[in-house]
Subunit: 109 residues, 4 copies
């Protein structure tokens, strides 16, 4: 009954889509936390751009910083996916599909 | 008197920091517009992560999409900077400094 | 006895390091082919740079093309690794280590 | 007569294409040196892939190292281009074209 919570690859019993793989809760919370920080940072760049004396290189640096934060969030999600879903694929029997799906998602970096 | 508005490299006369290079207004507005769209997209990823059935690969794809939007905003800013400030550097006599500053900012892609 | 050749995660019996995971042969050959093409391309950039009238933007474009070829080779290797070694990790019991190792290698993109 | 060698944006007098912008000699030599090192590194990866016990993650790391070397060479070329050709564009009167050309070349990173 509570096995779901110990198997990170399985959705919680009450999940709206029980048949599909769900993100490990820890990764989900950590990624959300990082994305909220990135959003706050993005707010401050938008505010910066409202001022007439914004300087291009300052804005570029801030955009890069947000991109770094998003990469960090992406790493959290990727690591969770590899551990919970890819590393267990041969047991489930969907290795080819899960690798194909991941390669496709990683392509457009 | 109104030369400032025709020279994109010069801040508007009433600018708080008249001695420094200011972002061309067009680039500033276009970058802001793109960053606001990216922020909305980021909000929707944060909302997605609040649901227990979020799926890693969907989240990865959305994060990549926001990174693409940020790259687009960065391109707008870079192009404005090159046209307004780098292309005019030898006239101002600060080529070495402005190139060094830009290379440093581009480094951490 | 010949199971090794059907299991892409296992080195060939006569391999110098039988205890360690070996790259699937197909990925190995395809990656080598792509890297040889990249090397030929790199040769032509070096030759281009020997001429006094080389133009910066042409060189930049050629360097980007080689980087694209290397990314393609990297994708072949990554896909082979995910299918042969990561997707089978929970069966071997080394999921944490193999994911950690991969995340570390992907970091410096 | 020897002005060509002091103006990095101008090709040497005997250049086959005197009307066009030439890469500063220093950048040309430094980029060539780095690309030769990258080529040697690439050779060693090809050799590595000829062995049956090549390990995916080792190959991935080596490919990333070569990509880093190519990025370094690209930075040398970009810096030379910005200093010699972009920073002088408003004087020549081709700012729009030279920025457009560079943005296009940088796009496919």
């Amino acid at each position: 009954m509570t096995t779901a919570s110990t198997d990170p690859a399985t959705c919680h019993p009450g999940s709206p889509s029980p048949g599909h793989l769900c993100m490990p809760e820890d990764a989900r919370k950590r990624a959300a936390r990082r994305l909220k920080i990135a959003r706050g940072h993005l707010d401050s760049i938008v505010a910066m751009l409202e001022k007439e004396d914004a300087y291009c290189v300052d804005v570029l640096r801030q955009i890069k910083a947000v991109q770094g934060a998003l990469s960090g969030a992406g790493e959290v999600v990727l690591r969770g996916h590899l551990e919970a879903h890819v590393a267990t694929a041969s047991t489930r029997g969907d290795s080819v599909e899960i690798v194909e799906e991941l390669m496709e998602a990683l392509k457009y970096t």
